[in-house]
């Protein structure tokens, strides 16, 4: 017996294999096949629309999951089946707010933030999101993802908008204009990246002095490879990533079993041993221990660590679901100018 899980590949898939797949197989005897995709949302949508679903469990970003759930592409998951926390807290309370949705169970919190090359700024290193936009004080090229999402939020926060008001402001045309105006200030120093593997490479090559990127990747570069990259959690935008079940999955029951197994407190905490993404359960937080190298304490590197949340913004799926097309079009138009 086997089930297939579609995920993003690379180090992230490896962490899932270690933390979820292998123990699940050990416990149930069901082997788990890992399937890589660039963005699992597209093949899943295609599979469900074509009525040819081969995947049992899929790892999705929160916004995609909610949207696909609304479109009837995903199977609803009854929150009641989720296990209670190790400390007995019911699942509904133990998961971070919003981490469980109709068709989705979050496993991690990942963050888009910026990191810089410490060797470039030995004294007075940047500490705030505003510093990222301050090329006078911190000269050098910047890197950002080629797309509207996250960049607009960061621009507003750098412009002094408190995290809590970012989306309200972005709903208004003035807010969007303000965000683009802020981006304008560093447009000429910008190198746009496309794939998540690029930001550490850009830093390592010295092509940029600071760049936004996924925190897990920065962590791996800094800790595992010993690169002098320092992450700045100020102004980070974090979101959930987790499991869903495509509508019409061939092994529905096993899929649910797998999700229940994976979303246990210990499993979520275990994943952090392999990659620096925060667990989506409160009860997992204290269990997060050392990195696989056996000496690095993972806690401070979690996006969800209290110290890192002082000026942090949870990404709003509602906003992006509605405005995605419009703002990306504008972003592309802005880029082309």
């Amino acid at each position: 017996e086997e089930i297939s899980v579609m995920s993003w590949g690379g180090a992230y898939a490896t962490s899932q294999i270690e933390a979820y797949h292998k123990p699940f197989t050990a416990q149930t005897g069901v082997s788990v096949i890992n399937v890589d995709a660039d963005n699992p949302a597209a093949p899943i949508k295609a599979q469900v629309e074509a009525g040819n679903v081969t995947i049992d469990v899929v790892d999705l970003e929160y916004a995609d999951a909610v949207r696909m759930c609304d479109e009837g592409l995903l199977e609803p998951i009854d929150p009641a089946i989720l296990p209670a926390g190790a400390d007995g807290t019911p699942a509904a309370d133990d998961f971070l707010p919003g981490a469980v949705a109709e068709c989705f169970v979050a496993t991690i919190v990942f963050s888009t933030l910026y990191a810089f090359d410490e060797s470039k700024f030995p004294e007075n290193p940047p500490t705030t999101i505003a510093d990222f936009f301050d090329t006078a004080k911190y000269p050098g090229k910047r890197g950002m993802r080629k797309g509207a999402k996250v960049n607009l939020e960061m621009a507003l926060m750098a412009d002094g908008v408190p995290a809590g008001e970012v989306y309200a402001l972005l709903e208004t045309p003035e807010g969007v204009d303000r965000a683009f105006a802020k981006l304008d200030t560093i447009k000429n120093d910008m190198i746009w990246w496309e794939a998540g593997a690029q930001p550490p490479q850009l830093l390592a090559d010295g092509e940029v002095v600071m760049t936004t990127g996924y925190n897990g990747r920065f962590f791996a570069a800094a800790v595992a490879e010993g690169k002098p990259f320092k992450q700045v959690f100020d102004g980070q935008v974090y979101e959930y990533d987790g499991y869903a079940i495509p509508k019409g999955a061939p092994n529905m029951e096993r899929a649910k079993e797998f999700i229940v197994f994976a979303s246990q407190t210990q499993q979520l905490a275990d994943q952090a041993k392999w990659i620096a993404y925060g667990p989506a359960r409160k009860s997992s937080g204290p269990l997060v221990g050392l990195y696989q190298d056996g000496k690095t304490e993972m806690g401070p590197f979690m996006p969800t660590a209290a110290a890192n949340l002082t000026n942090a913004l949870p990404s709003s799926y509602e906003f992006w679901v509605d405005r995605d097309a419009e703002l990306n079009e504008r972003f592309n138009a802005w880029l082309a100018q």
């Binding site: 297939s4 993003w8 590949g9 690379g10 180090a11 992230y12 898939a13 096949i33 890992n34 399937v35 890589d36 995709a37 660039d38 093949p43 295609a46 599979q47 629309e49 074509a50 009525g51 040819n52 081969t54 794939a195 998540g196 593997a197 550490p200 490479q201 390592a204 090559d205 996924y214 897990g216 990747r217 791996a220 490879e225």
Partner: protein, 303 residues
């Protein structure tokens, strides 16, 4: 390309400039391939020449990524490297599996594309062929449709017909993409084909099939082989269709390269490339040697 004595100074200058330009263009063609080779021995997971590499410090170099090609995906990579370890690598290592898939899919799709394409080219090059232009247009259309469109279209179609996630599906898709190359090269070869040879064979008593295998085939073989090579490379370097229609156990080498690009791409892809480059140099050199040999046999004096 020797210069005649009466060449004017301008012509002389141009002649040498021309040679230099050509050399630069060849350098341009080959530089990205050459740069890959040292980088594949990088000790770090970046595509950068590190200080150590530049100073030829041996610690800057490692076989790490070649090793990864073997170990990645293995059940038990850290075990002693004995027979069982190699068996494990052979069966489970992701890159080895990808290589196997690439070769299987490439070979079969090349076969399908070459057989069907050669037959069709034979028909197309007959003077009595009706509606040649529109048919030709249809046959080479896979070359002119952006691949992303093809891939999505194929996905829906395969899902509806149950071909999705099967080897047959990928083979058919790759064959489709390779067919225009076969058609173009074989048709070009047939343009220069002396049709009196077929007639001669018939007059000597050979049936059409004997004529095909004994006379036509050996003579158009160079065109067929070059078409087949194109078809094979098309399949071997194709990622988008595989992305859409392949199942998880049908990952090919390029697909494996694209995996996990959100998180990390490692110089492992460079070591794969290095290995492939060496294989292809060997292959192309062999083909050239064979050609020279057959030329000698045919008594054609090399020009």
């Amino acid at each position: 390309m020797a210069l005649p004595v009466y060449a004017s100074p301008l012509e002389r200058i141009w002649h040498y400039t021309y040679l230099v330009i050509c050399a630069l263009i060849f350098l341009f063609l080959i530089a990205p391939i050459l740069i890959v080779i040292p980088l594949s021995f990088n000790a770090e997971p970046y595509f950068t020449f590190t200080e150590k590499m530049l100073t030829f410090d041996p610690t800057g170099y490692s076989m790490r990524w070649y090793d990864l090609l073997l170990t990645f995906g293995m059940q038990n990579p850290d075990a002693v490297r004995d027979g069982a370890w190699w068996a494990d690598a052979w069966n489970n290592a992701a890159w080895i599996r990808a290589a196997k898939n690439s070769i299987i899919i490439g070979a079969f799709s090349t076969l399908v594309a070459t057989v069907l394409g050669t037959l069709a080219a034979l028909g197309l090059s007959r003077p009595e062929m009706p509606l040649r232009r529109p048919i030709m247009a249809v046959l080479i259309s896979p070359m002119i449709v952006p691949i992303i469109i093809t891939a999505t279209g194929l996905f829906f179609f395969y899902s509806a017909t149950g071909l999705s996630g099967t080897y047959v599906g990928i083979v058919l898709a790759h064959a489709t993409l390779g067919i225009p190359f076969v058609i173009i090269t074989v048709t070009a070869t047939l343009v220069g084909f002396d049709h009196s040879l077929t007639r001669a064979a018939a007059s000597l008593g050979a049936s059409p099939s004997t004529t095909f295998f004994k006379v036509i085939m050996p003579l158009i073989l160079p065109g067929v082989i070059s078409g087949a090579l194109f078809a094979f490379v098309t399949s071997f370097d194709e990622v988008v269709v595989v992305l859409f229609v392949a199942a998880h156990d049908q990952q090919t080498i390029p697909r494996q390269m694209w995996n996990g690009i959100r998180e990390q791409i490692s110089p492992a892809i460079l070591s794969v490339a290095t290995i492939l480059v060496i294989i292809s140099i060997a292959l192309l050199a062999t083909v050239e040697l064979l050609r020279r040999r057959s030329e000698r046999l045919r008594g054609v004096t090399p020009r």
